[in-house]
Symmetry: C2
Amino acid sequence: MKVGIEMLRDVARRAIARQGYEAADTEIILEIIMYAQLRGNNQNVIKLLGPGMPANPEAGQIGVAKETKLSALLDGGWNQGMVVMSRSCEIAIKKAKEHGFGIVGTRRTNSPTGAIGYYGRWIADEGLLGFVFSGSPELMAVYGSYEAFLGTNPLAIGIPTAGKPIVLDMATAAIAWYGIHLANAEGKKIPEGVAYDRDGQFTTDPGQALAGAIKAFGGFKGAALALIVEILTRPLVGATRDDDGRKTDWGNLIFAIDPELLAENLESFQAGVSDLLDRVKGLKRLPGVDEIPIPGERGDNYFDGVMAAGEIEIDEKVWRELDAVASG
Amino acid sequence: MKVGIEMLRDVARRAIARQGYEAADTEIILEIIMYAQLRGNNQNVIKLLGPGMPANPEAGQIGVAKETKLSALLDGGWNQGMVVMSRSCEIAIKKAKEHGFGIVGTRRTNSPTGAIGYYGRWIADEGLLGFVFSGSPELMAVYGSYEAFLGTNPLAIGIPTAGKPIVLDMATAAIAWYGIHLANAEGKKIPEGVAYDRDGQFTTDPGQALAGAIKAFGGFKGAALALIVEILTRPLVGATRDDDGRKTDWGNLIFAIDPELLAENLESFQAGVSDLLDRVKGLKRLPGVDEIPIPGERGDNYFDGVMAAGEIEIDEKVWRELDAVASG
């Protein structure tokens, strides 16, 4: 079914507030959920259904555990991840604008962090190079193992151009955890070679995969990058484990680099990137490829289509459930 | 055949000097070539054979095109890539130690840059997180294309631990350009699905692949990372093209981050990373896996074996040719 964007936004806002968030936090979460929804990203209003993402009753203030001219380590105080990540972005951007570089780590946030391309894009929109790394619970195997140990460890990179920014937003996993869950709920199979069962056999059964582990993307190289993200979001920011070694906390890291540290100025850098993208668009294409894709572009096109229509396609069941959550 | 390490070093030194490098540059290049040789990396003395890597007669001084507290943009003055990269490392480390972050871009270097893990390891050995990105000529296709446009765009990441550093050193290509060249010289086939011929068909013929394009690793995600490396090593550092749009210059980027910006101190960070690696080593292993591999470890083990023996296995033909180059 089709729903007007403002109507969806209003219902989503009420659904978030119902989960125990105060007004300011609700607006931050709403913006990030709607970003995903309006770009065809699955970190969307579905997050508000079922168990949802209730506010942590133990949440306190967001604290600054350590700060230097270039850096801040935030103690999330078990506030919602998107709220803490937004604060991190603001600080990283401010420091990068003042000094050329800003880096912010977080720990003790209440998951989830939503579509992390949002933060990469935000930094790029400010004329900076944005790098975002996000930790998560034990879901993915390291190379050579079949035991869930790493998070799906997504990363996002935002790059300013003369037009819309480049936004790469990718899990370092071969398949999104959410994709496995969805297949499980719908009784479908998952692709071959992306997940292990608990005995280390590849499985296409999503239930078995959820009891086992996801594989990293791209062989040893992808798995190595996943391990690097684990380091950036755990020991670097002081994320903790319980006495059994299970993660009790998963951290995040954001850094922003001013391109004017190296490029003549922002405009020349943006023009240079756009020139490169123009060349990319003009390259010979493989059969069946209508246009060479640029990271972030598919979401931008989806967004443009939705905004032109003023309404968005949404599953009727999702809409009914969302409305029920919003109405309490 | 086996050759003593010091004998190999001596012959390699003379082979480098014969290519037109002055003594100080020769020592820098020697160290990086020997690093690769002693770690079983293919960026080794083979680089000195055949066309070799002659000094550029137009080389001048390495200049500083732009500098801030945190950054420097080096004009390589067509000096050898390894020499300019070493200078970059020194500057990035110095700035990161003073301010917490240091970033150095280079342009107008004379290829090659050698095993870039060398620079990542160097930075990690100084107690910093090292990130290295290296541009190269038109060899690899962007996602959706079969035209050689990107470099093989390697990246290296160095992370200090309580023991030996983690050193990830990887091309974002599905196969190293050198691997294709070697297969071509030896009349062997390359694996399926890693390279296109000039008409966009996958080929296992290395000659056809050299006339075509290499594929990026890891599907859209790997190709997207390759594109990001292209941006970091071209528009960001002002690398140039000729009137036909061909690259006449391929840049490099290094940055170093002090973990103490976020972690309590270097020692606690190193201990945290080593604890994580200990856990990784203890995970359940897939059949046939004796030990979970950590990036950089294979090279370390090779190095330890060579140093214990005091000599290294080298192809007899390579040794004879190297000796001939050294003797002029």
